[in-house]
């Protein structure tokens, strides 16, 4: 078991969390199960955003638009083309990847806030197009999906939905952890921190930025497709700018550059309304205070204390004192 985890580079903590989730889910009533399902769906998109914004440094406010494309293409393919959920979802993920990757075009020429604005504009355009989509998208009144079956298995209760969502969730999380730990993650981090030096190591800056957009778009598409399948009914109100901002809050809470952090942040933000239900009308205010406290006291996200603990446990103390490091910090590489 240990060897398998080591070989596949999946942390033990994740396996334990997963086992815990299944255990909780098996005891949960169908409403809580529904919330857990929604958490996993959001976590898939949040993982994409961790890679695009947290690691690659491309600030995206277009997450909800990606979800919208994934959701609506799934619904359109099921309603108008009569496709089953699985082929519709897979095709939708690819459609979303293609459309989302187009965003990389302008983003390659722009930096920082301008990328954010381009993705924001993208979100506005997508929602407007869907709203004006007439019969194809149901316009402002949304779309209702036919019953979902996967390989002949009717996904007709929360428990089955849980299984159908858990599988892609686990695959996405495990695959993305590997993605970040290995060559592509190293390349993206190098580009974000030291773009000039990274290029001299042979890292193709444009290709990796495009890859980051494609990756996040694919996961946005998967997340959107699952969302449509889970809800059975979608409308443009599900994919507003607020939703995009909430995805940003998720990864900021989690720790920006950590997959586990993004997942944790997604669970926290998605489930917060349920935890806070006891506060009744004050629940929004309590959520705001919670956000405030976490960001102020844990600027590295909720994974930061764990990462620090692990470092302390695993690396021995080095004797290296640093009398000269001040000089080393004095400048950036040329240009």
């Amino acid at each position: 078991m240990r060897a398998l985890l080591h070989r596949t580079k999946i942390p033990l903590s994740m396996v334990l969390a997963m086992a815990g989730a299944v255990l909780v889910a098996s005891e949960a009533n169908s409403y809580y199960l529904y919330v857990i399902n929604l958490c996993m769906i959001n976590a898939i998109a949040a993982v994409g955003l961790v890679i695009l914004s947290g690691v690659a440094g491309q600030i995206s406010l277009g997450t909800a638009a990606l979800l919208a494309i994934g959701s609506y293409s799934t619904a359109i393919m099921m309603v108008h083309l009569g496709l089953g959920f699985l082929p519709a979802a897979v095709l939708s993920a690819f459609v979303t990847t293609v459309i989302g990757t187009i965003l990389a075009g302008p983003a390659l020429r722009l930096t920082g806030l301008h990328v954010a604005i381009v993705t924001l504009a993208f979100g506005i355009i997508v929602v407007q197009l869907i709203g004006k989509g007439g019969k194809l998208t149901g316009g402002m009144s949304g779309m209702t999906l036919p019953p979902v079956t996967i390989l002949g298995w009717a996904i007709d209760n929360e428990w089955r939905r849980f299984i159908a969502i858990l599988i892609p969730f686990v695959l996405v999380t495990a695959g993305s952890i590997r993605f970040l730990r290995l060559k592509p993650g190293r390349a993206l981090r190098a580009l974000r921190e030291r773009e000039v030096a990274a290029q001299t190591l042979g890292i193709n800056s444009s290709a990796y930025k495009i890859l980051a957009f494609a990756y996040a778009s694919f996961l946005g598409g998967v997340s959107g497709a699952l969302y449509a399948g889970l809800k059975g009914y979608i409308s443009v109100d599900d994919f507003t700018l607020w939703n995009s901002i909430y995805f940003f809050v998720m990864i900021a809470l989690g720790g920006m550059t950590s997959i586990i952090g993004g997942v944790a942040g997604a669970f926290l933000v998605t489930a917060a309304p349920e935890f806070l239900r006891g506060f009744q009308e004050a629940s929004q205010a309590v959520f705001g205070v919670l956000l405030f406290v976490i960001v102020v006291f844990l600027p590295g996200g909720i994974v930061a204390p764990f990462a620090g603990l692990r470092r302390r446990l695993s690396t021995r103390q080095t004797r290296a004192t640093a009398p000269n490091t001040d000089e080393g910090q004095s400048g950036d590489p040329p240009r």
Binding site: K9, R186, A197, T200, G202, L211, N324, G328, G331, P334
Partner: protein
């Protein structure tokens, strides 16, 4: 003389009104350790930036590496041809360990597709295991200890950071290594240590090294060939000892060799 590994032909670069390089032409032979010296603003780093692809020289100039024209290629393409470099101001990822930094230097050697990393494939784990062995090899050669390797680079002394940057540049076994002021900001002990490391690097491989430095100690100990730039022009070049004795060079440096 054998076929040069790198040759410059009429390289000129103008920044606004300043002629940073003025028709520079010379060859560097394969296997040489080649020093480029000259006062501040002589155009040394500009020359490196032309090789790397950060700066495009004026029309008519050519830079040829292994019979391939470099001008017009993007930075990562130049790297892929087998050219690697370090920077005047350290350009390491400061929040990563030395090992993580050097691993990034193996990017081109890890041949698997970036998306293949998602799956627990044999060729991915084999490539990563090979990478770990390459790091061990280069760190033994450059005398970088394991404890240094596993420390965040921003907490390391400057001398160690410089060595890690060199390791990151050479770990993928390039044919040509460009070092931009490797001894800049180092004290005498650190410089001596770095010279040791660079000498074992030079003697262990076919690598061609080009060094820019103000530190004449480093350049004279390391290099067999020397070129001198002044105000963007090549004023002397040849065997290191001869160039050092050249009156024109002495005039430019005016006693600087001792001060360095």
């Amino acid at each position: 003389m054998t076929e040069p590994i790198l040759s410059f032909d009429q390289i000129s670069v103008r920044f606004g009104g300043v002629l940073a390089l003025d028709g520079v032409s010379f060859d560097i032979a394969r296997g040489d350790t080649f020093g480029i010296i000259g006062p501040n603003g002589a155009g040394k780093t500009t020359l490196f930036n032309c090789i790397s692809g950060f700066i495009k020289p004026a029309a008519g100039g050519r830079i040829v590496f292994n019979n391939k024209d470099l001008i017009g290629r993007s930075v990562h393409e130049v790297a892929k041809l087998g050219i690697s470099r370090s920077f005047q101001n350290i350009a390491l990822m400061q929040d990563q360990t030395g090992r993580q930094n050097i691993l990034t230097g193996l990017h081109l050697r890890l041949a698997y597709h970036p998306l293949a990393s998602i799956l627990p494939l044999r060729r991915v784990s084999d490539a990563e295991a090979q990478a770990a062995r390459e790091i061990k090899r280069i760190c033994e050669l450059l005398k970088i200890s394991d404890s240094v390797l596993d420390t965040r680079v921003d907490t390391l002394p400057l001398g160690q950071q410089k060595k890690i940057e060199v390791a990151r540049a050479v770990v993928r076994a390039p044919e040509l290594l460009l070092l931009d002021e490797p001894a800049g900001g180092l004290n005498d002990r650190e410089t001596g240590d770095l010279i040791d490391s660079l000498e074992s690097l030079r003697d262990s491989s076919e690598l061609t090294i080009v060094v820019i430095d103000h530190d004449m100690n480093l350049v004279m100990e390391l290099c067999n060939q020397l070129a001198v730039l002044d105000f963007g022009r090549l004023i002397a070049m040849g065997e290191a000892a001869n160039v050092q004795a050249d009156p024109a060079v002495i005039a430019v440096y005016l006693g600087q060799p001792d001060a360095a």
